[in-house]
């Protein structure tokens, strides 16, 4: 069954700006891929437990000992924009 997808809603969740042409192409392609992928429901019955990781490991904790970490210059070296020792970003909230 073809899957009808609200492309604008999903693109906003994914924080992706799409052109009109991309939106149309993705609508068609995702519908087709999801129709194919929905095959999983043919065999995934209620009695089958899910697997998140093929080789599960218990949560690994390191000893609680302080170790040196990256300094600010190194951490900021790839920043698109900075101010002093901080990442600079455009306005996040409205200012009255």
């Amino acid at each position: 069954m073809p899957v009808d997808i609200d492309i604008d809603h999903v693109a906003r969740l994914a924080r992706l700006e799409l052109s009109d042409e991309e939106r149309e192409r993705l609508r068609a392609q995702l519908s087709l891929i999801l129709e194919h992928a929905a095959k999983v429901s043919e065999v995934a019955t209620a009695d089958v437990p899910p697997t998140a990781s093929a080789i599960p490991r218990p949560t690994v904790l390191r000893p609680d000992v302080p170790t040196p970490s990256m300094g600010p210059e190194e951490a900021l070296a790839n920043a698109p924009d900075r101010e002093d020792d901080r990442f600079r970003v455009p306005r996040i909230v409205e200012v009255e």
Binding site: I7, L26, A37, A38, K39, I55, V60, A77
Partner: protein, 488 residues
């Protein structure tokens, strides 16, 4: 060029000549750099070659290489550009990381570097390792040395092509759904994907964390065993790293397969497999039987559903992992009125079509109301795939199949049809879903003169057995064809 210069030899051979003092690391490096200069304009395997560093390093490790204590000392390597290298640009084949210079080394390279390995450069790949043809790189496709009009496979296409063309002695790639094994098959080299967690993922820029595996490209199975001996073993920097000690995997290469039970995967030799691939793999299986192995048929009944499950699980994990590219801490930023607009524009401009497709697919599959129907169901199929393998390995020691249903296809042939492209990985994906180790070795040429890859699969942590069988078969097959481009 003749195909028998230093850059064309196996690491095993080079190592013994280094230890004998017959050659120096600098001579090997010059041989590789010359080959890159002559051929890479056509092959385009490298995104960022590091010739000056390689020359300097070759001089620095000369003594270590002569001493012979480390199996990787003095031997040049290429790294897929999703593996971080401190101070050396790492792009993931993406515009969004075009100028990113990592402040740290991935564990895989840190271990090789400590062992005296020499970096030749970073290789081209599908953007964020998403693809099967290398055509999804933002920096243009890689060309297969066997026929420049065909793809090298993907996503680690640059690493596979570099080893096939003699531009590197060996190389590292990553394998999330077949991205080492499939390009290895299409380029006629050996591609090993170890058990999930055997090689640390620290510094492997994440695509799908529950599937991502570092793997190797080599000219022989013995070379793969040598590399794995240095790469494998527990790393505290990766919480999914298995509690395994480093070990010498060459010790298990006895050449002996008598009495081993080999299961031929029934589903993998049916329709959709090219006749040249089928006959190449069939005749290799006969040779394995001739060596004394017991051959039988085995079924992986849920293999048919693996592709569907993979294209829900991998995009879901990808949509989550790639959320970090937001124009704030590193990578591209496209300005906007506010942070939301900046992020949307940055990601819209920075990601290519396949990455956007998978982010959208994953975001949808994880979104409210659809999670159970898609991601939840796919995780159950993953359980069924694991059970298939458990059942198969109760009767057989290793499994055999083609690596890819086809040999190298033409550039542009599948770019408009994502589903056709995804089918390239139909035989490699199940091993990632189950975490088991698998290897592709060349087993002949098809009627077009293109290499055919054979895949062997072993149980979790069955690397020693896997490499033993692959090595024995490799010797029996004695595949020694070289791309025409390299013969000159």
């Amino acid at each position: 060029m003749s195909g028998d210069e230093l850059c064309d030899l196996t690491a095993t051979e080079l190592r013994s000549r280094l230890v004998e003092g017959e050659i120096s690391p600098s001579e090997i490096v010059e041989s590789c750099l010359h080959r890159i200069e002559v051929l890479d304009g056509q092959v385009r395997a490298f995104l960022t070659p590091t010739p000056d560093l390689a020359r300097e390093r070759a001089r620095a490790v000369a003594e270590l290489a002569r001493a012979g204590t480390s199996p990787v000392a003095g031997i040049p390597i290429a790294l897929k550009d999703v593996l971080t290298t401190r101070g050396i640009r790492t792009t993931c084949g993406s515009r969004i990381l075009e100028t990113y210079v990592p402040p740290y080394d991935c564990t895989a390279w840190a271990r090789l570097s400590a062992g005296g390995s020499i970096l030749l450069g970073k290789t081209n790949c599908d953007e964020f390792a998403m693809g099967s043809s290398n055509e999804n790189s933002a920096f243009g496709p890689v060309h297969n040395p066997w026929n420049l009009d065909t793809v090298p496979g993907g996503s680690s296409g640059g690493s596979a092509a570099a080893v096939a063309a003699g531009e590197a002695v060996w190389a590292l790639g990553t394998d999330t759904g077949g991205s080492v094994r499939q390009p290895a098959a299409l380029c006629g080299v050996v591609g090993l994907k170890p058990t999930y967690g055997l090689i640390s993922r620290y510094g492997l820029i994440a695509f799908a964390s529950s599937l991502d595996t570092v793997g190797t490209f080599t000219r022989s199975v013995r070379d793969a065993a040598m590399l794995l001996s240095v790469l494998g073993g527990r790393d505290p920097m990766d919480a999914t790293s298995l509690d395994q000690p480093a070990r010498d995997y060459t010790a298990s290469l006895s050449g002996e397969v008598r009495g081993l039970r080999v299961g031929v995967v029934r589903e993998a030799l049916g329709e959709g497999v090219e006749p040249g691939v089928r006959s190449g793999v069939r005749s290799a299986i006969d040779r394995l039987e001739g060596l004394g192995a017991t051959v039988g048929e085995v079924s992986l009944p849920h293999a048919d559903y693996a592709l569907s499950a993979y294209y829900l699980i991998a995009p879901s994990e990808c949509s989550s992992n790639l959320a970090r590219y937001d124009g704030v801490r590193y990578g591209l930023r496209v300005p906007g009125e506010d942070s939301m607009q900046m992020m949307m524009r940055t990601r819209g401009a920075g990601f290519g079509p396949e990455v956007k497709r998978r982010i959208m697919l994953g975001t949808y599959a994880l979104s409210a109301g659809y999670y159970e129907a898609y991601y939840g169901q796919a995780q159950k199929v993953r359980t069924l795939i694991i059970r298939d393998y458990e059942r198969a390995f109760a009767s057989f020691d290793v499994l055999v199949s083609p690596t890819s249903p086809t040999t190298a296809f033409r550039i542009g042939e599948r770019t408009d049809d994502p589903l056709a492209m995804y089918l390239s990985d139909v035989f490699t994906i199940p091993a990632n879903l189950a975490g088991v180790p698998a290897i592709s070795i060349p087993c002949g040429l098809d009627e077009k003169g293109l290499p055919v890859g054979l895949q062997l699969t072993a149980p979790v942590l069955g690397e020693e057995l896997l490499l033993r069988v692959a090595d024995a078969l490799e010797h029996e097959l004695a595949f020694d064809a070289v791309p025409g481009l390299v013969r000159g």
